[in-house]
């Protein structure tokens, strides 16, 4: 695999102003996506996954949202320094997005063909007729007959709509696709079809992908790297194999423990005690410390830094920081 960095997020923080304070949606987030790689972005609802995605696309509604610090380096350039106009030519062309709910992510008053054409006309120097032809080809690529280009979204089923959404996202062969829980709203059988389709097309077109999900099964199936998110930050980042075989962060371990085991007859599923912090809360120490079974004094006072356990495996946890410094194992 070619290990060239396509996207690197450094110390990204995003806040939202709300009536009763400031929501710290993303805090000091660090992330790398290499070329042709699929990164799984895992975390609970409200962990800041979608906000991060919207930040990459610079589509955070402002106000109330604001990117307060950090860098988002895409293809060697910091997206946060780009003008709106420059961003518009990057969106769709280099970075495109697949939203969670195909029922609502297509414009109900436009034919699906026209919605693909819109994308092509924005970024490619083609006329309308060529764009329509390309749109039909895109539909065929995602397994929809070209005659259906003239149909409206309500004439498609959920799975078919998500195929159309994928066709739109891939129309300009972007370098990076951000898929925000692309299968959550679909039936299980359709989920598998759509996932397979996405994986095939990704290989065919050589795109990188950020796959936002809370389904560890999907991650195991198609991701190369995984970032585990908790309360607005990445607590652990590793290759899929490392993460599944040697999870390091107590939260990651807790997540894997909570997956039901087929070979054990369990009455209760393992759970992580407590709830994620309120996003308006300012926690001086590690955000996970109130729920962590291995919590130490220092965890409540200071935020843990990044500790590299391996070249492609980092964790934000004092357990490992100490280990790395003093060599004194837990």
């Amino acid at each position: 695999m070619e290990e060239k960095k396509l996207l690197e997020i450094k110390d990204l923080s995003v806040t939202y102003k709300v009536e009763d304070g400031i929501v710290y949606a993303v805090n000091d987030l660090n992330l790398v996506v290499h070329n042709k790689e699929t990164l799984g972005f895992v975390g609970e609802t409200g962990a800041g996954k979608t906000t991060t995605a919207m930040a990459i696309m610079r589509l955070i509604p402002s106000p109330p949202g604001e990117i307060t610090k950090g860098q988002i380096i895409f293809d060697g350039e910091d997206l946060l320094q780009k003008s709106q106009r420059q961003m518009r030519s990057i969106l769709g062309q280099d970075i495109s997005m697949i939203f969670q709910d195909p029922m609502t992510s297509l414009n109900p008053a436009m034919t699906v063909g026209d919605q693909i054409v819109e994308m092509l006309l924005l970024h490619k120097s083609v006329n309308k007729k060529q764009a329509w032809e390309e749109a039909c080809q895109m539909l065929e690529l995602v397994g929809i007959k070209r005659e259906r280009a003239k149909d409206y979204p309500h004439q498609f089923s959920g799975g078919m709509k998500q195929r159309v959404v994928i066709a739109i996202a891939l129309a300009c062969s972007p370098k990076l696709i951000i898929a925000d829980e692309p299968t959550t709203a679909l039936d299980v059988t359709i989920q598998a079809q759509v996932m397979d389709l996405m994986r095939d097309l990704k290989h065919k077109l050589g795109t990188s992908m950020i796959l936002i999900t809370h389904d560890l099964g999907i991650v195991a199936e198609i991701c190369d790297k995984v970032a585990i998110m908790y309360a607005g930050g990445v607590v652990e980042y590793a290759s899929k194999e490392k993460l599944y075989n040697e999870p390091a962060h107590p939260y990651t371990k807790g997540l894997f423990n909570s997956i039901p085991k087929l070979d054990v007859d369990e009455e209760w599923l393992e759970e992580i005690d407590g709830l994620p912090p309120e996003p308006t809360e300012v926690i001086p120490g590690c955000a996970f410390s109130p729920r962590c079974s291995k919590c130490m004094e220092i965890c409540k006072q200071k935020k843990p830094g990044i500790t590299y356990l391996d070249d492609d495996h980092y964790v934000r946890c004092f357990l490992y920081e100490k280990q790395a410094e003093g060599g004194a194992a837990e």
Binding site: L59, L91, Q100, T104, E118, Y152
Partner: protein, 307 residues
Amino acid sequence: MLKYIGKRLLYLILVLLGVSFIVFTLLYISPGNPAKIILGEAATPEALAALEEQLGLNDPFLVRYFNYLKGIVFELDLGTSYNTGRAVLDEILAVFPNTVTLAASAIVIAVMVGVTLGIISAVKQYSIIDNLVMVFALIGTSVPIFWLGIMMIVLFSVKLHLLPPSGYGTFAQMIMPAVALGLQSTAMIARMTRSSMLEVIRMDYVKTARAKGQKEIVVIMKHVFRNALIPIITVVGLQFGQLLGGAMLTEMVFSIPGLGRLIIDSISMRDYPVVQGGVLFVATCFSLVNLVVDLLYAVVDPKITKS
């Protein structure tokens, strides 16, 4: 599509039947003997009896109603005015163009201003502009037209001598009535546009459009406004229908010889056939405008015709 139109037309006929029945009944039970109105208080009982017989006033209610309907359907005959002796339809058609011109100017102003304000308001939700527009809309919906009309006359005609206070015919004479009449509709349309846009503006497909790298103005017009249209068209249609029939106050204040004034004058003169015909005519216009609105739905929303 044909089935859709056919269904709408059927509804239209049913509505008009209902309206004609209600209007006819109301006037039937209202006090006052038409024969007396025509002949005056000094008429002899014999003359009254003869005229009552001639007008069919002694027939049972339903017979009279069906005779009335028959006249409308087969001869386009809405009756004869007691007052002038002319056919009601002629009376109506003589003044109706004035009302149409007034209503059309008012609705054009209302749509242009109302939709623009509504879009700006929605895009800049909670901003100062948004708040100002909403205050304007609140005032616009609550100010009575006759008061506004009189105030405008006082300011622009009496004090500033800019516009003629009343009458009909010239462009200058149309400005104040059209603005006064259109204000309420402007406010309603602005509100409806704003709320309808806000409902759409957070939809995922709007995000999809932005994620395509589309310009914000195109996102707003092509993806948001287009999908917010149905409630806006509905309110515009209702407002226009109302303006056609409800310009009465404006017509009175600015002395415009229109349909509203004809109906009011006829009520005070107990000229029942003109009142009946006038109301029925207004109801027909209202229903026709709504028919057009229904047909526009089908153009705007592919779900209506395609499924």
